[in-house]
Subunit: 325 residues, 2 copies
């Protein structure tokens, strides 16, 4: 900037005014400065500018578990759109479900003075963020609640959705319903399991612990568990899978042995209607989840100081497969 000023024969302040489109600069000087800028290839240093002016960095941080996962990719896409609407850049960080890494990354994002944080929490304790939030870095949690911190939260209606799904199965006469899940250490899984149990209890169906299987982390395991359950003396007549990875494996196994057991899954997925038989699912709009959270964050960034909000994004039962049996 000093070089540009020298070249244009003006002060650095005038250069600053020109590159910021400030008023009250002679057209002739503007031209000289712009010429010097072009000749020297000058680029304003955005970091230095926010340092002095104390203004926002026009950057927000998004912390998710894993970018490549389609669910988080959809979230990232929707957040990026909202950010772009606010001329804001997006730093995306992956916690890989590791609470220590999550804390490290969030601190690092704060050190970079992001204007706000969107967090899909991995850990259970976010009290370390309290100071940052008080100091003016707003945070909005999505998909999972914050631990030990009053903050804006946008969640899916996991429990209500699972309840509606299992209700559909019991309404169709099923009583032996297997529930397949990833891990109860994940909030969403606990909520969905609770919703399934709500509906089983309502219907007076036995909540048989042998029919609830957790630790299913990939389609292959799901297929194996489905096989085991079907090979039992008194096999389930229906399966309720708590995420789409599990649904995928379950479909494969049911199709392989041409079973007539019913499958209903939480989470929609792209190819659901192309599967060997169409799958009924509990669907939701991931983009709405993300956009809601992002818009809430930008309201905070613009200065909204109201009490933290809790938003619940609805789920919907999408009936595709005819109930078999």
């Amino acid at each position: 900037m000093v070089d540009v000023a020298a070249r244009a024969g003006v002060s650095v302040k005038t250069v600053s005014r020109v590159v910021n489109n400030a008023p009250y600069v002679q057209p002739e000087l503007v031209e000289r400065v712009l010429a010097a800028v072009a000749e020297l290839g000058f680029r304003r240093n955005h970091l230095a500018s926010t340092l002095r002016s104390g203004q926002a960095t026009a950057t927000i941080g998004l912390l998710i578990e894993e970018i490549a996962n389609p669910f988080y990719a959809t979230i990232a896409g929707a957040v990026a759109e909202v950010a772009a609407d606010h001329d804001t850049m997006l730093i995306i960080a992956s916690s890989e479900e590791d609470p220590a890494r999550e804390q490290q990354l969030l601190r690092d994002l704060c050190a970079r003075r992001v204007d706000g944080l969107l967090v899909v929490p991995a850990g259970e304790d976010h009290t370390f963020l309290a100071g940052e939030v008080e100091l003016g870095t707003p945070a909005v949690f999505l998909d999972r609640p914050a631990g030990g911190l009053r903050a804006d939260t946008v969640l899916l209606d996991n429990r209500g959705g699972a309840r509606a799904g299992v209700r559909r199965l019991t309404a169709d006469g099923h009583r032996r319903i297997a529930v397949l899940l990833d891990s109860t250490s994940v909030y969403t899984m606990r909520e969905r399991l609770a919703g399934a149990r709500d509906a089983l209890t309502e219907a007076g169906a036995a909540d048989d612990p042998l029919l609830v299987r957790d630790g299913i982390r990939d389609p292959a395991t799901a297929a194996r568990v489905v096989a085991e359950l079907l090979d039992q003396p008194d096999p389930p007549t229906a399966f309720f899978s708590l995420n789409n990875r599990i649904s995928l494996g379950a479909v494969e196994e049911l199709h392989r042995r041409d079973s007539d057991a019913t499958l209903l899954g939480f989470d929609d997925f792209d190819s659901a209607r192309l599967l060997p038989y169409p799958l009924t699912v509990i669907a939701y709009d991931t983009r709405t989840l993300a956009r809601t959270a992002a818009e809430l964050l930008f309201r905070r960034i613009r200065g909204d100081r109201d009490a933290p909000r809790d938003v619940l994004v609805p789920t919907e039962l999408v009936a595709r497969g005819l109930p078999r049996r």
Copy 2:
């Protein structure tokens, strides 16, 4: 920092030393400073620190077309891993295939003084980056070549892959092969089309312009085009689709009318083996593409000043479906 220094009864420089784990500070002072840091909730301002020290910002920029797209999400995930290995944050920006927006975003990333750029180009002209690259912000292009700029480039072997795919079809005796593509305005589509034509010419199969259909942007259109082609007097016996969105729609239509035409597609996709019939595809490892580019970028950031490299990532024919016919 000034406040921390006052509270700990030391100079700001000593505080700086402590928060940077610099040697030669008395343990007692370290303790006092850390206590003051904790009490005041001090967080080092990473922006100011890079400003003065002139060191790297530990941030790289990734420019892609659309985050939510699984292809780009996979790229982003792989890049994020490499970045994490280098303790570097990742800013992801979406050009939405708009060259003007691309230029704007790349300039903005440079203004933020990222240490390097990974670019999946949308535009045809990247000469505006030449200055930045000379000034020390390295850029690596991936999946598509840069326009008018000598820079590191990592590409898929699109042409070779398409050639291998169509060779397989002609080897199976097909002569009327329809080629379905998105748009010839996209580099990868042009390359794949060229590869397909290579193989058709080799086999002496007519490169019938009526059998090449472009402008297919979504599965529904793909299904419609397949239907049209099959309803012609002399329908194709095989389809070669140049991306997986098109494959999806084509499969659906072929399955719907239980056609015995063969389909072979460029791009693998998750549910390929769950489709009504398994699909043979030209596959490649997107993560290798992205990791290669990211690692090349970090080599540049570490100071490698060799001549720009061009890397070609191989494709592979994954035979899943038996040739129908």
